[in-house]
Assembly symmetry: C2
Homo-oligomer: 377 residues x 2
């Protein structure tokens, strides 16, 4: 009886974590520029084993951060991939040592355009150099060195996280035993660039953006909210929006013109408003541009980059994801096959669109579990 109560307590008990900081005194970028006193914010979950062989690096998507799982003090919701990371979950913290860091250029602890430039004592704003996905990965590699990990058991991430996973395979093939790129691409299509560009235009059209110099005044709230709204439409599917909202209206007498009529309008506005509170507009510009500039194969066939790779891959896409359609994942799969790299691919039946990898994680969990169990074979 007492035990039963204890179990229940244990199940509902929140596990708390804190973000840590990894300082890099001097960091040279892909373009040759150097950043000084760089910080990389990161979290870890679970324990590194004695042979330091059970570490998995989680790579976050565009608007993610280092807080992938569990709770911070005061959190009402856990980290962004808590469905996937934890005791007994796909990334099982009883077995693996999980690491997640905020990307370089970000605004959740890692150095980015909103950080103080130590050379001037002022915020970088647009003085921040254009970082790339490769730069993000190079910073993560220094963190992995710092943690004393010679070889990662796996690396995994969706969307921009998947891009980083692909870049890891190409930049540091000897440091990775396996990789799980999800809902991602080897390079953005013009349509993907176009959606990002419109988001950037929305931010830069806001007079409060002020060429990036808004840190001492009003932030470009309206522009950033519009950018996020565009993003949200592309992260969902037509079907999931239809199921979630239909054409339900919110009746309101005497409301001003062009206030929301439909629930979907209210939803978008509230998501836009929430985002503004937590995300830096300049980080939006830099990170979205890094995604657009990314081309892991550098204009060559991707298979050329994969020859000799010892890692195993699990590639996942989602049938309802129209932003990162399956053919982009299939290109990665084909490149693996041409290069003789072992690869498992599943186009998962889920209706939520691109965000499926964040919210519809049941099948994904099973596939990741099965895959991770076989990495050691």
């Amino acid at each position: 009886m007492v035990q039963a109560i204890d179990n229940k307590t244990a199940l509902s008990e929140k596990i708390y974590v804190e973000t840590q900081n990894f300082p890099i005194p001097e960091f040279t970028l892909e373009n040759g520029e150097t950043l000084y006193e760089v910080n990389i914010a990161y979290e870890t979950y679970g324990n590194l084993n004695a042979s330091r062989s059970n570490a998995i690096l989680i790579l976050h998507a565009f608007s993610g951060d280092a807080h992938a799982a569990f709770y911070h003090q005061g959190d009402t919701r856990p980290g962004w991939w808590d469905r996937m990371i934890g005791p007994g979950k796909a990334f099982d913290t009883d077995r693996y040592f999980i690491i997640c860091s905020n990307v370089l250029g970000g605004c959740a602890g890692s150095t980015g355009p909103s950080s103080i430039n130590p050379r001037t004592g002022k915020r970088y704003a647009l003085e921040f150099p254009q970082i790339t996905i490769k730069d993000m990965v190079n910073a993560q590699k220094l963190l992995i060195d710092h943690l004393g990990i010679d070889k990662l058991y796996s690396i995994a991430g969706g969307s921009m996280g998947g891009m980083q996973a692909l870049q890891w395979l190409v930049s540091y093939p000897e440091r990775v035993r396996s990789a799980i790129p999800i809902a991602t691409t080897a390079r953005h299509s013009p349509q993907q660039i176009a959606f990002n560009e419109v988001g950037r235009q929305a931010i830069m059209a806001d007079p409060n953006w002020n060429y990036g110099n808004y840190y001492d005044g009003e932030i470009p709230r309206a522009g950033l909210a519009v950018a996020r709204m565009i993003g949200h439409i592309t992260y969902m599917s037509e079907k999931s929006m239809a199921e979630k909202f239909g054409r339900r209206t919110k009746a309101e007498e005497g409301k001003p013109r062009f206030h929301p009529d439909f629930e979907v309008e209210n939803y978008l506005r509230s998501r836009g408003d929430n985002f503004v509170r937590r995300f830096d507009a300049n980080s939006y510009l830099y990170i979205s541009k890094a995604m657009d500039l990314f081309d892991v194969s550098e204009g060559r066939p991707l298979s050329e980059k994969f020859y000799g790779l010892q890692a195993k891959l699990l590639v996942l896409s989602y049938k309802s994801d129209w932003l990162y359609p399956a053919h982009q994942s299939l290109e990665i799969v084909s490149a693996c096959k041409i290069a003789g790299v072992p690869v498992t691919y599943v186009d998962i039946e889920a209706h939520y669109g691109h965000d499926s990898f964040l919210v519809e994680t049941e099948i994904q969990s099973q596939l990741v579990k099965n895959f991770l169990a076989r990495v050691g074979d």
Copy 2:
């Protein structure tokens, strides 16, 4: 020899047209409000026959106007559907009398939010009432009355033009012998509403919008351009963008940060800038909202609205159109079949996306020709 030269001259000769005005002294809207001294701008091509039985009403899409074919003095490009309308073309001006009017709420000659309110002597701006697709159709019906046409040989339009065609069938079934709704829907999905809403948000986020009162100052150029850019992405297909732009970049030394890197970015910006010169931001708000509010079946099965209809339908969709996907056209087709209304449906193989009905018109022309030839049977 002389004849050959004459033929060549005739072929290359531009046919010039002028926009005409149809005044409506008093016009009562669906919501009971009344507009005074309304104007409807329209054009006609070809000649009305003695029995007044050869008139076809063309219905324009969101950003279209009355100028569907031929040239205005000074035009370098003809009207928006010149590929479809003219001697020997699908809407053959040697056989049919073609009419096209600018919608109520528009900004190309017809009364809209940028018009002077005769009661105040000032521009309506947001004092303009929220017009609907039904209001647009009611105004067109008065124009058809005015032109002395009892029964239209056909009505045709794509996108919002198709919505008006559906509304005509339901509002004035006895006035229409046939209808050609193209790349359209009986009602907007939440995704379609969402894209429109983000466009509206972009306009309203621009401080120059000033709650609609910008006619004496700066127009909300930046916001309207962003709205149009969003639209443009949705009007094209992933494939057509890939073919048109690829990942080609425009190399420019020393360009400021976040200026366009990719051709697709330049394209979107230039289309946004062009649009701003010809379209009124408040009309954007009112017309896009009219589309979102449109539901031709008023929450009931569409077939109920089609029972007893004597018209024939040609329904067309485009395989690469992801904004108005085929299943929305198929709903119209099903409703016709349930109601016993003769319908022909083709999902056309074209790669240009939603804009195919404007630019990839070869198959569409043949289908329209065949259909119009059989309307009289």
